[in-house]
Assembly symmetry: none
Homo-oligomer: 225 residues x 2
DNA sequence: GAAATTCCTTAGAAATTCCTTAGACTACTT
DNA sequence: AAGTAGTCTAAGGAATTTCTAAGGAATTTC
């Protein structure tokens, strides 16, 4: 995990850098906003932490410029000012968190970790769709309900995946044809009905709560109750 | 944007709910952790805000369980405790931010917005028509009045949707024929009257306030009073 | 107030939509 | 070459919705 510190107080820099490195972070330092922006162009950071009061353009302006450039890296602003107004200005400028000096290093680290966790880069994310006890593992290509394995054919899984990506939304058979089968025309058959039936037999049969519902005349939904 | 508040102090709930709704949020409330978990299964939230001290399982445990279930919605923890240790425990449990009571609503809102901005995926906007306690969800194809589910057939729903898109406006039967039935000629039947009757039986019957009114000789309207 | 018009309600026939099952066809495996 | 698994078509019947028709109620017009 890589972090960019933008800060001009030497003491603060030293203690933060040391602490972060002890916890396995790679730390880059910039002493003013412009240097910071340049570094952001060159590296991919997991978190950026900037003091609000730094030489050149300040932390808020830096934040705005980053967001305008499309950089989505989480930003943690540091400041001696503890007033609500400043916090709000900072968060509205596109920052993700705000910490008031003085602070304990442990809190700084916890917030940095919380921010980095959000991006997903660095920690590999599970690739699992979940809905009400149903789990579809996109990597393993497996489906479970209440922990019990369910064997699905590729088509069945594609249909279930489609429904699970938008739980609660009703899809017409035409939409399903297009999105799951890539059919832009009506084949005149009842293909979707048949596959919904297959899915129900495997996913819902034997469970008291049905998840696949038909909205007569409208389509099918994945929904509880 | 939709937020889940988990909190048992009535005063806090009221002020937060009101403020959030004034800023265009849809707010759901849970009074304890278990109710919260249940709601999370049912809806897709953009942010979850929970007090740490709530009946049943506490905010930290809730947080852990959410993450374990694969829910990635950002969590903002609220607490009267301001010690660093608690903050760290909270953030380590998978929370994304931590706010100490008492706080100003403005700061709460700013943090909530910062969190919701991050999600990206959960940015789907709701597709719901509302009028005087009536809700028509265009995605789920469901209708509720005062929270009570109402089952409509596709035609009935199309008619209600049409009326709900122009509340207060009177539509003649000819207009309704054209817009809802796509009929450009008079079939000589009383089709629209029949369907208005169907709708009334499902939407207005049992409620003291009728919403569907007939303007004799002019047509039909959706209107209060 | 009577006649004319418009609207409400109900029942049932017609049409549509959906479910289920069986089997044909294809592409792999053994 | 037979077997297996997956995909798709077809067809009957079940379920639900849509529409028509007709008599009575309410409202307006004369």
């Amino acid at each position: 995990m890589r972090i960019l510190l933008i800060e001009d107080e030497v003491k603060t820099i030293q203690s933060l850098r040391q602490g972060l490195e002890e916890h396995g972070w790679t730390v880059d330092i910039a002493y003013d906003g412009e240097a910071g922006l340049r570094l952001v162009d060159q590296h991919q950071y997991d978190v950026i932490s900037s003091d609000i009061i730094i030489p050149g353009l300040n932390g808020l302006e830096l934040c705005r410029q980053l967001r305008q450039k499309g950089v989505q890296t989480p930003v943690l602003l540091l400041s001696a000012l503890g007033e609500t107004d400043d916090k709000i200005t900072g968060l509205d400028a596109g920052a993700d968190d705000y910490l008031t000096k003085p602070f304990e290093f442990r809190e700084f680290l916890a917030r940095v970790k919380a921010l980095s966790r959000r991006t997903g880069t660095g920690y590999q994310q599970e690739n699992i769709l979940r809905f009400a006890g149903l789990e579809l593992d996109l990597d393993a290509k497996t489906v479970r309900r209440e922990g019990k394995m369910i064997n699905l054919t590729p088509r069945e899984m594609a249909l279930l995946e489609f429904l699970m990506r938008h739980p609660g939304k009703v899809f017409s058979k035409v939409e399903i044809s297009e999105k799951v089968w890539d059919l832009d025309f009506d084949t005149g058959t009842n293909l979707i009905e048949v596959y919904v039936n297959y899915l129900r037999n495997k996913v819902d049969k034997g469970f008291s709560q049905k998840l696949i519902h038909t909205q007569f005349g409208q389509g099918y939904v994945l929904r509880e109750e």
